[in-house]
Structure formats: structure tokens, C-alpha cells
Symmetry: C2
Subunit: 116 residues, 2 copies
Amino acid sequence: MAVKKAHSSCLDTVKPVRDALDVLNGKWKLPIIISIGVGNDRFTDIQESIPGISPKVLAKELKELEQHQLINRIITEGYPVKVSYHTTKHSETLWPIIYALKDWGLHHRKKIFNQA
Amino acid sequence: MAVKKAHSSCLDTVKPVRDALDVLNGKWKLPIIISIGVGNDRFTDIQESIPGISPKVLAKELKELEQHQLINRIITEGYPVKVSYHTTKHSETLWPIIYALKDWGLHHRKKIFNQA
DNA sequence: TATAGTACTTTCCCAAAGGAAAGTGTTATA
DNA sequence: TATAACACTTTCCTTTGGGAAAGTACTATA
């Protein structure tokens, strides 16, 4: 009988990576965290700082980020009710990921460009 | 007239991050890179090492990773034709991202668990 | 009175992601 | 002869992501 060679296990790495990807999925979560983190705290400011995002998508993503405790939504009562968004302490732990992606994005673009 | 305050720009970070996310999108690309990187070079081994991935999805993702020059597909002629997959030099630059995601996944799970 | 700003919501629609299950063609082994 | 491995492909179907455009409710300002 053909001997079946066992595959190498990589679950120690794959499982936590998938946990992270489940929370950060889609094109918009990290860009929104970056935008709020950099000081944009109003809905419209966030929208304008991220090219291509629609208000529907932004509203949905903000809700999910709040559920994952990565941002806070703060309502200030007043004549015009104001809503502002802020990153949580927990979201600060995302910056190593963001910087790693930024570096890689720059590196990858350079590589592709130099070949073309 | 109400004065419109300009939003803070974060494009320097958002754009390269989006470039990276465009290449690494979906749940499977990084787990596949991890699996191949750890030594699984056969289709079936990769499939078995990643819980939940179907052969259809794996085949599609492998093609995309090859196009992005993150893996090589090598065919060895013989009585049983063998196909094997290997990571490229370029894919090694992804490990900072993978480790950052792994650390964050572990951290996030611990945080959520401690609250429940 | 009219316009503009703020923070969304709603509707419609399309494309991509992805799960389930079965099938294919070849070769090797019991 | 029958089974099993290997590397997929094919079909079907559901879910999710996300774009476009318009609408809503409120307030402030010209």
C-alpha cells in the first residue's frame, strides 16, 4: 500500500492568524482604524479621508468595529447632536499589523513596478 | 456660513495598506502561505493542514498566489505526475505580517475570553 | 425662506466568496 | 480485479461585500 505521509502541522500559527483575519476582514476595517487613529473623529471626516468608501459601508463597518471594542462611539447632546468616534486602547495593539502591511504594500508595489 | 474643517489626511498609510490587503484578501491566502512555508508542498497536504478549506477554494487561491509571485508551482514528470508548491523569496517578506497577526489573534482572543 | 451641514438609512442590484458534493483521469498496489 | 491516492474540476447554491443613488431628520446660517 502506498504510504501516506502526514502533512506538517501549522495550526499553532494558522489558528490565531485566522482569528485575527475574522475580525479584520474586508477592505475597510484597517483603513478606518487608521483614519480615526490619526485624528478623524467625525463620520464625514472619516468618509472623506478614505477614498471610495460609501456612507452605507462606513456605517456598517463602524458598528462592527464598535462590537469588537476597537472604537468607541460617543454622542454629545446639544442643539446639533454630535457623534464622534475614537479608537480604544485595545485598537492600539493593531499598529504592528498596520505598519507591517504598510511596509509590505510599499515593498510589493516596488517589486511589481520594477518588473513591468 | 459654517466653517468646514478639513479632515486629517492618512493616505500615506492607507494607500499602501490597501495595496497589501488587495493581494492578501480573503480568509485563506495567509494560511496557505503559512502551510507551504512550513513544508507542506503537496496539494493534499496543504488541504489537510488547513481545517475547512475545500479543494475548489484551494485550487483557486493557489492560482492567485502564483500570479502574485508568492508561490511557485512545480510539475515533476514521471509515472505519477507530481505537482508541488513552494514559497518564493518574495513571500518571505510576509512573515512580519503573519507574526503580527498571530500575536494579535492570541491577544484578542485572550481579551475577549477574559471578559466573558 | 432657502440652503447647507451632519449622520446616517434605505433600496436596489451585482459580483465575488465560499460551502457541499460528486466526478475525472491516471497510476499503483493489494 | 478492485481499491485507493493524487490533483484537481464541475456543478449548484447561498452568503457576504460592496457600489450607486436617493432619502431622512434635524439644526444653523445667509
